[in-house]
Symmetry: C2
Subunit: 374 residues, 2 copies
Amino acid sequence: MSEGPQRARRGAVTIEEVARAAGVSRQTVSNALNAPQRVRPDTLARVTAAIRGLGYQPDQSARSLRSGARRTLGYLAPADDPLDPNPLMAGFLEALVDAAGAEGRRVLLFRPAPPTGDPTAAIDELVAARQVDGLVLADVLAEDARIAHVARLGVPFVSFGRTGPGEPQHWVDIANDAATAAVLRHLAELGHRRIGYLGAAEELPWMAARRAGFLAEARRLGLAAVALPGAGAPAGSAAGAGGFGPGADGFGREAEGFGEAVAAVRAVLRGPDRPTAFVAGSDLLALDVYEAVRAEGLVVGPGGVAVTGFHDTPLCRHLHPALTSVRLPLRAIAGELVARLLGQVRGEAAPTAGVELPTELVVRGSSGGRVAGG
Amino acid sequence: MSEGPQRARRGAVTIEEVARAAGVSRQTVSNALNAPQRVRPDTLARVTAAIRGLGYQPDQSARSLRSGARRTLGYLAPADDPLDPNPLMAGFLEALVDAAGAEGRRVLLFRPAPPTGDPTAAIDELVAARQVDGLVLADVLAEDARIAHVARLGVPFVSFGRTGPGEPQHWVDIANDAATAAVLRHLAELGHRRIGYLGAAEELPWMAARRAGFLAEARRLGLAAVALPGAGAPAGSAAGAGGFGPGADGFGREAEGFGEAVAAVRAVLRGPDRPTAFVAGSDLLALDVYEAVRAEGLVVGPGGVAVTGFHDTPLCRHLHPALTSVRLPLRAIAGELVARLLGQVRGEAAPTAGVELPTELVVRGSSGGRVAGG
DNA sequence: TTGTAAGCGTTATCAG
DNA sequence: CTGATAACGCTTACAA
């Protein structure tokens, strides 16, 4: 019933066995794996054959203990409710795991422990246990306690979402403002002159940037713009335990005023200068616009009110008309994050600036045509 | 420039330092941590104080190497496209990380490497490197190659989704058939007598079960039922590399016949005995029903055509009327999975049967109940 | 190029 | 109840 070594040893091929099989010493096997150029070709071939034949793979714990490299990256999953999951948990995480895997790294997930929900404690624990070489953070807020904490700790880290000016610039982000500006230009080219925006301005930096990009471009183009708040995040949630906000799009729980967004859009549609198009800060908010448009007896699309979303979730393709949306370059983001993180792990000089990656506008039926009546 | 030990040692408190600080030997510290009852209370207090004072935490690699326990569970993420992410990646994964964390375990994510996409190779790699104590699989298909493989390997594992009769019954699943049966009863109680179903029957076991549960209950209740396929999975995808299917709801890529589902529903609505309600196998399919209902000039809701979905995604609350849906007990599922997996890791006798957990029907406006939270 | 020796931080064994 | 010693599997020096 002794549990430990038995289980660990069970069926596990060690470097020793490979060495015996190949007729060499342990170190030659190790060299064949970690510094092949230092081993004579024929010996290398023999060793490689033995490795494959026995299905040998180094014990990661032993390797880590000796070398200090964990070959694992930690992803701090935002602490939200499974019933209202963070959109990043899906596509982004998959891309991250792929990008890490391409560099021979695994991704270890962790979340703040429920009682306090303190992310800094979770980070400390992971770092103290030396389980990862570096950390990936996401959903960075202004004055984010996590960023300050990892910077102080000196752990290699990167973030999806830009950090403040006084903090390390180890970030990758999308150009949220440029994205909504591009959406607006797309609509302007189709002849739209009065365009609405739906999406909160406060608390969530990416939502604020989308809105700001929209407004700045509208001013530049001389378009009539009206910006409405979407369903706001619960007041003060971003200031809660350890700087965690709500889900990436700022939606709260059940019955938290979704109807208000719809009502606000309806009011604008009933007003004197009805917008011929609406830009939404997320795909779900675009759904609210759809509902408002229909409730007013209007039709969604170029012939009525054009609508666009943000994120290009599968939802877009199930709407009628299909929803024009902004697609995030998830693979590029993940690749860049992993590259920058591994750069730090290897001790290379960190880039002094973050990087902003471009988004892609996916045009579908909801905006795909010239505005009716010019 | 020597990279390894430096980095590993940097700022890391070892058991030795704690021992010195507390005036005891290494083993006493180790005992204080792993077998407190073997240490005298006052000594224990001194050691504990030193541990907290120095912020000591055992190096997980050293601990794993020695004890064989990795304190980490592997989650094999389905190999789909980040643009069409698996619904489970969001809520389920968050619940899994929480449940594992409650048992002092971390979750290591891995995915089949892109070239071949072979999940068995990915499993072999992880197991050979001894990085995890056990595996969690999801989206189990009939004759799933992954299940057969891990069973042959003898690695502790559990699956979200039932396994075949000839395989180990280390599974947790929801009662898909009972769930749609309950939805149907809910509708019947509201007076509906002719009810449609939308959702594919083949390839994806959970989708097949939902459909079958609906049909069986309709027969039992003597209701008129018409079952339509939803947007099917791409032909043969489930038989592809290593038994991976498409996303959990069986949706494929852009323009793969979403319109067909809408057209099918519309045809039924135009038919002689129009259903007064439609049960959809997923929330996205419910959206197709919404569109079909409206395209036919009808209204969604108890006064027109009632609609229900499955999964209770945030989408439900953004629809008007809000969508009645089936909520999965994600925390219970994750908890049960972790408990069963750790049971195996500890060498306890495995339960001979899987467990089916009940779902919760969340009634909203689309089927005539009171709006939740309202 | 290859083999020898040592040690990474921890826990298990066995004396005291 | 505590302390010395060995070992987990591997990689980094250094010697051959």
